[in-house]
């Protein structure tokens, strides 16, 4: 068995929701990630959904925590006590990387400059909502607010709904991924050139960098010559290109697009005698591109409404057309592709076997593995000497 890709890295995880996903990515690839928490327990253990505990006296298991705090070692530290502070300092000095969120557990006690003076090889990833300067630097921004300010909410929803958030904490999964990238980039630089770094990750900018068309429409409105101008309104599932949208079939919904091979889509409509005027040569004139898109999508909407979506989806994919059957999450466990690739993995939820998400990538030589972050908080080591002994980080500073 080969060693895991990151098995030489010792990481101190002082994140909250904004970057906990990044620490998860590092831990699941084998880094030794330690996540200390206050004696009152990590507040993120209070986030749902929950698995009801079958054991009297044991708390329900946070499935949020099981997923996002996976592959960590958990310790309680009483930062009110001198020996707790000493333990915290030893952890800080013994690790290769600190991933910290502004305001996260213990972060206010850290002097980043001093830490890097003591350990010049140390990498510090400093995650803030808006950076450490500017009028919004202290604004409170949970996922929904962060998504609103960064542009994600404005572009989600429909003309007859308010702006909408995405399901779950998708904005913070973006900043989390960037935090993981920041950590490993700085480690690569340290391995190659020597010396650690303090790396800042700005959540607001992370989200804004991942909005596909939003900045493009503003900057290149004149080049694109779109009637909407610099801002595309929210408009349901319709892609900025107008050539992808979710349509309603007889028994469900399906994402339909004639992209990338419009001729293939036209041939299919002709085959079913549903093409109407689409063979008119006027649609091939460059100046009629938008007209062609509009007419094609109009005809497809009517055509799809006569179809059952499951056979339509497979028929499209047989023709190498990227239709997407809108699936409820309740069916994801039965997905034949995920089953064939044995993607779901075992999760032990405080003694009960269950299943959960597998890896977002497959490495040919180094393993990925996950163990759920579900330790019963009452059983987490809290005595500083026990913590140090369990940790095995002594002498590495």
């Amino acid at each position: 068995m080969n060693a895991a890709a990151l098995d030489k890295l010792r990481i101190l995880d002082l994140t909250d929701e904004r970057a906990i996903y990044g620490a998860k990515l590092l831990g699941d690839l084998g880094a030794d990630v330690v996540r200390p928490e206050p004696v009152q327990g990590d507040p993120l253990r209070g986030r749902g959904p929950f698995k009801k505990s079958d054991h009297p006296g044991r708390p329900d298991v946070s499935l949020y925590y099981a997923f996002f705090a996976s592959s960590r070692r958990h310790f309680q530290i009483d930062l009110e006590r001198v020996d707790g502070q000493e333990l915290f300092n030893r952890l800080v000095q013994a690790c290769d990387v600190i991933v910290a969120c502004q305001g996260g557990f213990g972060v206010d006690l850290l002097d980043f400059d001093e830490l890097r003076t003591v350990n010049p090889e140390l990498v510090i990833v400093d995650v803030t909502s808006f950076g450490r300067q500017g009028p919004w630097k202290d604004y409170a921004a949970p996922d929904f607010v962060a998504g609103a300010l960064a542009g994600a909410v404005a572009t989600t929803g429909d003309v007859d709904t308010p702006p909408l958030k995405a399901f779950g904490d998708l904005n913070f999964m973006v900043s989390g991924a960037y935090a993981g990238i920041a950590a490993l980039s700085a480690i690569r630089a340290a391995r190659t050139f020597g010396g650690g770094d303090q790396v800042s990750v700005n959540v607001h900018e992370c989200i804004a960098s991942c909005l596909e068309q939003v900045l493009m429409f503003y900057w290149y409105a004149e080049v694109m010559m779109r009637p909407e101008g610099k801002v595309l309104p929210r408009r349901g599932s319709t892609h900025w290109s107008d050539a992808f949208t979710v349509m309603n079939g007889q028994d469900g919904s399906i994402m339909v697009t004639p992209t990338p091979d419009w001729d293939k889509q036209l041939a299919w409509l002709i085959e079913e005698d549903a093409h109407e005027d689409l063979i008119d040569p006027k649609y091939l004139e460059p100046e009629n591109l938008r007209l062609r898109i509009e007419r094609t999508m109009e005809l497809l909407t009517g055509w799809v409404s006569t179809k059952e979506v499951e056979p339509l989806f497979f028929d499209a994919q047989d023709r190498h057309m990227p239709y997407g059957w809108v699936q409820p999450l309740s069916r994801i466990g039965e997905n034949p592709q995920l089953q064939a690739r044995e993607w779901f993995v075992d999760y032990n939820l405080q003694g009960e076997d269950s299943k959960g998400p597998g890896a977002p990538y497959q490495f040919s030589r180094t393993p990925w593995s996950v163990h759920a972050g579900v330790e019963d908080p009452s059983g987490i080591p809290a005595d500083p000497q026990t913590v140090l002994a369990d940790l095995g980080w002594e002498g590495s500073a």
Binding site: F144, P162, F167, E228, S237, Q317, I332, S354
Partner: protein, 404 residues
């Protein structure tokens, strides 16, 4: 100053968004990204003058290769033998057919890291399915879960999964580099964009397997936490028909302390004195009532004024900003220089812009933002730097139709 990834050599065969976004991130941090394109593939959004291409392909050098020519494949193999990373999002097997697949190249370049970002991954009944981000959103449950109850036709308003597949691809490459540092060995990484997308429903998938509960769209509610209010509310002016010109604010109360603060901001109105609102469970149960009261109150304020009022009291609130707001009136974006002009004008569309890497290295700043390069614009420099070919040799290749 040396950037974090300087010295890394990447052969980039990717197109559209997911793959180019991965190499954009790596290029921003100093990797030498050689983007391979060709006259025959440079169509629609794969044209260097298309704004979509411009968005994702800065900080890369452009090489044109006519891969239908055997000599182009040989040249490409020489490049891959010099590369640290080879990345593509073709269908499975394309690089093998060109003789530049992992099995071949790793024989002579054992440290090379190959990453393939396909839609569905290798193997399985759907492995040959064609996907774009909206396809993945639909199949993974993201579309059905994002919206309002009873509708399946809303979903995410942008290609979230493409960006995230790119970020996960970049992260995976960096992890493989760390492994290579200790072992000397590269490896092959496979990113299934479908599996990336399903992964984002992590807690909901655990809920499905553990409790049999399939998550559904819940509008602007937090799906699993009893937070209320947790919604958007329209600010003044209210009589705005055009969706783009409407002003909204998101307000979130996650605990009793924030609720008390919000009551203060609202001036302690009579309706808010109802003791049922004092605890989270009560607020959540009465969230529709809360929303009605807040909507009436918020409508009297302008958006940024109300945000400042709420935030100064400790209540999380954020204006629903669109692209214009971000780039014209967001003080954080303005102060940080996140949006920047690229000095070197694009030969066809002139001025271009870059949204900066949202990661700042204090010791190794990443301040270089080079414009998108035209098809084959860097052929001579790349072939010199990577393979030590001189100008005459490159010209000969061009004359033979290898570089087009």
């Amino acid at each position: 100053m040396t950037r974090p990834l300087e010295g890394l050599r990447i052969v980039d065969f990717t197109h559209v968004l997911a793959g180019p976004f991965a190499t954009r991130v790596l290029g921003d941090m100093g990797a030498d990204v050689v983007k391979v394109n060709s006259e025959s593939r440079a169509l629609t959004s794969n044209v260097p003058s298309h704004p979509y291409y411009v968005m994702w392909n800065r900080n890369k050098r452009a090489l044109s290769l006519n891969m239908s020519e055997p000599d182009a494949q040989t040249l490409c193999r020489s490049l891959c033998e010099k590369a640290d990373i080879v990345i593509d999002n073709f269908s499975v097997g394309v690089l093998d057919r060109w003789g530049v697949g992992y099995e071949v190249v790793s024989q002579t370049n054992p440290g090379v890291i190959y990453i393939q970002m396909s839609g569905m991954g290798e193997g399985g009944p759907w492995s040959r399915f064609v996907t774009y981000a909206p396809t993945i959103h639909a199949l993974s449950g993201l579309t059905a879960m994002t919206g309002v109850p009873g509708r399946e036709d809303i979903g995410l308003g942008f290609s979230y999964n493409d960006h995230q597949a790119g970020l996960h691809g970049a992260f995976a490459v960096l992890a493989a580099l760390e492994s290579r540092h200790h072992t000397g060995l590269g490896q092959r990484i496979e990113v299934s964009q479908f599996e990336v997308g399903v992964n984002f429903a992590g807690p909901a998938i655990l809920d499905l397997f553990a409790n049999g509960v399939g998550a559904q769209a819940c509008g602007n509610l937090a799906p699993y936490d009893n937070w209320a209010p947790h919604n958007v509310y329209q600010c003044a002016p209210l009589d705005v028909a055009d969706v783009v010109d409407q002003r909204w604010i998101a307000i979130v109360v996650e605990n009793d302390q924030q609720w008390q603060a919000l009551k203060d901001v609202m001036g302690q109105p009579d309706w808010a004195q109802d003791s049922r609102f004092d605890e989270a469970a009560g607020r959540y149960a009465l969230r529709d009532d809360l929303d009605q009261h807040l909507a009436a109150w918020v409508g009297e304020f302008e958006d940024y004024d109300l945000m400042a009022l709420c935030q100064s009291a400790g209540v999380p609130a954020g204006v629903v900003q669109n692209g214009r707001d971000l780039l014209e009136s967001d003080p954080q974006i303005e102060a940080s220089g996140f949006a920047r002009r690229i000095e070197d004008l694009h030969p066809e569309i002139g001025q271009t812009w870059a949204d900066s890497l949202p990661i700042t290295f204090s010791e190794r700043p990443c301040e270089e933002y080079n414009r998108v390069r035209m098809l084959g614009e860097d052929n001579a420099d790349i072939l010199h730097d990577w393979l030590n070919l001189d100008g005459q040799e490159t010209q000969t290749l061009a004359d033979r139709g290898i570089l087009k």
